[in-house]
């Protein structure tokens, strides 16, 4: 194997194997598209506000995704919802990964911290999301930021677990010992060796946490704990449900549901494809 590995760096190898996976590429394209939609939302559709005479219209040329029960354009809602949903997803996962990285690596490297941190992780996994969400929302007001923080608070334990298990595999590696022998401090080793080492796993984690965050955001908004001043896909669904039009005005639920599905699906597929690409054993 060595002779071949020598020809391509693992990164390039991963990339070239990734490139040949149509699902992975399609997912990446969809994500990119959604990102663009999120960034350029103001150019695509005006912010959905106000009310109009065309209430509960099915999709038409004027309103691609139809209108809701107060006459707002569902397409515009979905477009702007992309922004919030992706922002919450991304920021929650960044936060969760930050905390998870720190805790996971510490637990793996500082043996003494392992047990207390393990208890902390167990605890966090057994904590109920909903009351905490209500609590934070009440103390800080239901805003996109609050949502992100709360979701992050519930996602980090999983990241921490993954990171810890990966870091545990790195800690006994001779190159860590080598760094110690040349005089590197613990902080140095954590920074220069452990963190870069767990980054690839975290890459997958980011994607998965993001998709879970998107679903959580939708769920919380659906339960009425979202930010009323911005549009997210969960908010659209929540409003559709509140208006009692879930089943009849199918367009008010279908499109946001599809958007959620598409985003979560493509992020998940992306991580699967990335994982596959990284696993050179299953190369064909």
């Amino acid at each position: 194997m060595t002779a071949i590995a020598a020809e391509l760096t693992p990164r390039r190898r991963t990339w070239s194997s990734f490139r040949r996976n149509p699902l992975g590429m399609a997912s990446a394209a969809v994500l990119l598209l959604m990102l663009l939609i999120a960034i350029f939302a103001p150019l695509i559709a005006p912010f959905p506000e106000g009310y109009g005479p065309d209430t509960s219209q099915p999709p038409s040329a004027a309103h691609w995704f139809g209108t809701d029960d107060i006459g707002q354009d569902v397409f515009a809602q979905v477009v702007w919802g992309t922004r919030v949903s992706m922002a919450v997803g991304a920021s929650a996962s960044v936060l969760a990964i930050g905390i998870g990285l720190l805790i996971g690596v510490s637990a793996a490297y500082f043996r003494r911290l392992d047990t207390p941190l393990g208890v902390l992780v167990d605890l966090s996994l057994s904590l109920p999301v909903l009351p905490l969400m209500i609590l934070v929302a009440a103390l800080a007001g239901p805003s996109v930021r609050t949502l992100a923080v709360v979701i992050a608070l519930f996602s980090w334990p999983e990241v921490a677990r993954v990171v810890r298990s990966q870091a545990l595999a790195i800690v006994p590696m001779p190159f860590v010992s080598a760094a110690k022998v040349v005089g590197g401090s613990s902080w140095w080793i954590v920074r220069k060796h452990l963190l870069p080492g767990v980054v690839p796993v975290v890459g997958v984690s980011v994607v998965l946490t993001t998709s879970r965050a998107v679903l959580s955001e939708a769920g919380l908004s659906f339960l009425g704990l979202g930010d009323p001043n911005s549009w997210s896909w969960g908010t659209i669904l929540h409003k559709a449900q509140q208006s009692g039009a879930l089943a009849s005005a199918w367009w008010t639920t279908l499109f946001p549901s599809l958007a959620i599905l598409l985003l979560v699906l493509s992020t998940t597929l992306l991580s699967v494809a990335y994982n596959d690409a990284r696993n050179h054993r299953s190369d064909t």
Binding site: L23, T115, G118, V119, D122, L123, L125, S126, L127, P128, L130, P131, L132, I134, L135, A138, L139, S211, L215, A218, G219, F222, L223, L237, Q241, L246, A247, T253, S257, I260, L261, V264, L265, T268, L269, V272, N275, N279, R281, S282, T284
Partner: protein
């Protein structure tokens, strides 16, 4: 033995921690439990009396000590709102939740493992792609959307399944069981859908990894039949991560599935918690959390034991 003792100690620590955190958390919730119970139009005296009745007039620390004391006696207190013991409130819901989440878990595992194996043994073939894609798609579904879709299509249009509820009123004996299953199908299906992907994908990944191991080559070199190679040699090694997922899930079983129970009007504990939050029924909430934490701790223990059964290297005796 020592290992079990340590695990147990750690479990108790986790439990205590959870009880403490949730105790204070619950009491930080905005709103006034007294308001949620009695008419807001009450006199100050009544208010004080109610607070005293609920034990909310003492300082937090004293309330906490009281609670711990009661908890040690297995007493979870009385529901503010319903004036019945918390245990009663929870035990009414727990069986339903366990039926729903438990059956979903069993079905998921029973489907997920074979599908994962199928995908892994045909890695990168079309069947693998189909299984993967289905799993991932199902996993990405948003519960309320699926719920409404399923209820509308299978319930209202086709009339195959009832809308909401857990069992028919008149059914007794076998008919009751049939009706229970009948009501279970849709909520269970949507839970299975969203969980299946996790199992399939994990199973697939770990099995592919295991199939590349030397001991699999050795089994083949020994002339073992291909099926036996997969199911006997590779699968058991690949089951550990799946066990981890299942263990994690096991711990959340008693917590119910708020969204699913809500959508399908299933009388589970998840909804009870959701309602108790709305009613600021501290004792019920607190009791539910103790139950959740205990379940997580027990599930961890079970997972460890399962690890030991699956992997002799972990065995402790």
């Amino acid at each position: 033995m020592r290992f079990i003792g340590l695990r147990l100690a750690r479990g108790l620590l986790t439990l205590w921690f959870a009880v403490t955190v949730t105790f204070f958390l619950v009491r930080l919730l905005p709103g006034d439990p007294v308001l949620a119970v009695a008419d807001p139009n009450m006199t100050e005296e009544l208010r004080r009396k109610l607070l005293a009745d609920f034990g909310l007039d003492k300082p937090l620390a004293a309330q906490y000590v009281d609670y711990l004391g009661q908890l040690l006696h297995g007493n979870l207190g009385m529901s503010f709102r319903q004036s019945v013991p918390v245990t009663t409130v929870l035990m009414e819901r727990l069986p339903w939740t366990l039926i729903l989440t438990g059956s979903a878990m069993v079905v998921t595992i029973a489907l997920g493992i074979p599908l994962g194996v199928l995908a892994a043994t045909r890695a990168k073939g079309w069947l693998d792609r189909v299984i993967q894609l289905t799993g991932v798609t199902a996993q990405s579904l948003f519960v309320p959307s699926v719920g409404i879709f399923l209820m509308y299509v299978l319930g209202v249009w086709l009339g195959w399944f009832p809308i909401g509820g857990a069992v028919d009123l008149d059914a007794t004996g076998i008919a009751a069981t049939v009706s229970m299953v009948h009501h279970l199908v849709l909520p269970c299906l949507s839970l299975v859908l969203i969980q299946l992907g996790g199992y399939v994908l994990t199973m697939r990944t770990t099995l592919i990894e295991a199939l590349g191991e030397d001991y699999v080559s050795l089994a083949r070199a020994k002339g073992v039949r291909p099926g036996t190679v997969v199911w006997k040699h590779a699968l058991r090694n690949a089951l550990l991560p799946t066990t981890t997922i299942a263990g994690l899930q096991l711990g959340t079983l008693v917590g119910g599935a708020v969204l699913t129970e809500t959508i399908y009007a299933y009388p589970g504990i998840g909804r009870a918690i959701y309602e108790a939050v709305g009613q600021l029924d501290f004792p019920v909430l607190q009791g539910a959390f103790v139950l959740l934490a205990a379940a997580v701790v027990v599930a961890n223990l079970i997972t460890d034991v399962a690890y030991g059964i699956l992997d002799p290297r972990v065995r402790t005796t």
